[in-house]
């Protein structure tokens, strides 16, 4: 089973303070780019893998989705989702994505924001998601960029010109990474970008768009503290079509 760090009290308290938890999708700086990668949602059946507080589920329902199934392993997150983002078209279900098997041939869109990098067996989930999509269905997802998950020490260094440099090492060594983000001992899985793409291809998905996301120059004007974040990508956003 995947580590359920979101039900850790310290982690949950910290996570709940993040802009994306307080302000929803508009508090997530990558959202405008991810949103532009989505198909039209009106009348569609939508699956949200790692739905958290249900912000995307509510967005999809607001866009006219016919049904939305939000799945998460965290009881605490689902409790808040059911309280704050309830909608007649949304169903919330607790499940570990490592084993979750959605009904076959049911969905037009599978969506997942920042969940896949927690999974040890991503190939297994992708196979089940492929089966759950209708032919021509779409998968839109985001993960921490492999440049973020790779390093042994996630601390900026300074190059010989005094410029910030992100310290990449261990990139080829995939697997478990333990970080102390919001709580001690958060377990993520590092995969190379090529591996993400290969897993998608092997599951039968054809990539249609890949974005290595960092804050835009415009976002840095509003948040000058983010300037350094443009030196390397932060998230990897992908849209793919079920073959």
């Amino acid at each position: 089973m995947t580590q359920n760090i979101y039900d850790d009290e310290t982690f949950f308290a910290g996570y709940s303070q993040l802009a994306r938890s307080v302000h929803g999708l508009d508090g997530a700086p990558e959202w405008p780019v991810l949103r532009a990668m989505l198909p039209v949602l009106s009348g569609k059946h939508v699956l949200d893998l790692g739905c958290g507080f249900g912000w995307f589920c509510r967005f999809a329902a607001g866009e006219g989705a016919a049904s939305v199934l939000g799945v998460d392993v965290s009881e605490k997150m689902l409790e808040r989702a059911r309280r704050e983002t309830a909608d007649a078209r949304i169903t919330y279900q607790r499940a570990d994505l490592e084993r979750f098997a959605p009904p076959a041939g049911r969905f037009d869109l599978a969506y997942s924001s920042l969940a896949f990098h927690y999974l040890a067996d991503l190939a297994g989930l992708l196979g089940r998601v492929h089966a759950a999509l209708k032919p021509g269905g779409v998968l839109v997802c985001s993960v921490e960029h492999p440049l973020m998950t790779a390093p042994a020490r996630q601390e900026w260094l300074i190059d010989a010109d005094g410029r910030a440099a992100w310290p990449v090492n261990g990139y080829l060594d995939e697997g478990r990474r333990v970080s102390n983000w919001l709580a001690e001992g958060v377990v993520k899985r590092h995969r190379t970008l090529a591996t993400y793409l290969d897993l998608m291809l092997e599951a039968g998905f054809a990539p249609t768009k890949l974005v290595e996301w960092a804050p835009s120059a415009e976002q840095v004007v509003v948040e000058p503290g983010w300037a350094k974040e443009r030196e390397r990508p932060f998230f990897l956003l992908m849209s793919l079509q079920r073959g």
Copy 2:
């Protein structure tokens, strides 16, 4: 026109000393992986973009290719190619890839080793290569990995644990990079991995395999000096199918 650095005397002298120039394909450590990405060549019509000394052209002819067209901008390289890798089935042609327009619908395979990162207008070339391939034709290519072309200073740093870290910055800022590799002022073009993939998709190619190449653990046993090179990928290898 692309900078024709290969005809610079200093560069050419240095390049001619590299293992890949002295020993051909077997001197290129990424060759076994790239080779495994190739389709069967027997009876095929092959285009080599940036053929250099013609090692791959000779390999393709040896594999039974029906015809091989090797194209390069460097007169010095083509001269040696015509002298050392001549074969009745190989034609060598001097052309700048920025403008080269191969005959339409002629080829089964377009191959390019470490040439695309010199081109300012890669989209233009990919469009012409797409047109030059038969339906179902294949493009197999390698470029310097974007992590190699990105940094302002290509010098290893040391992290807080004393471990080598590759200094990534400027990753999102695409365009001209000037390095002093074998000669002063070698001009390359940095593109993100997402941009390489988008350019391929926009030209009508569907990716079938992506490899972020670094020496294998086995290669490091033979060449212990390469150990650090496994901290981050060195080349990006891609195989794609003409849609």
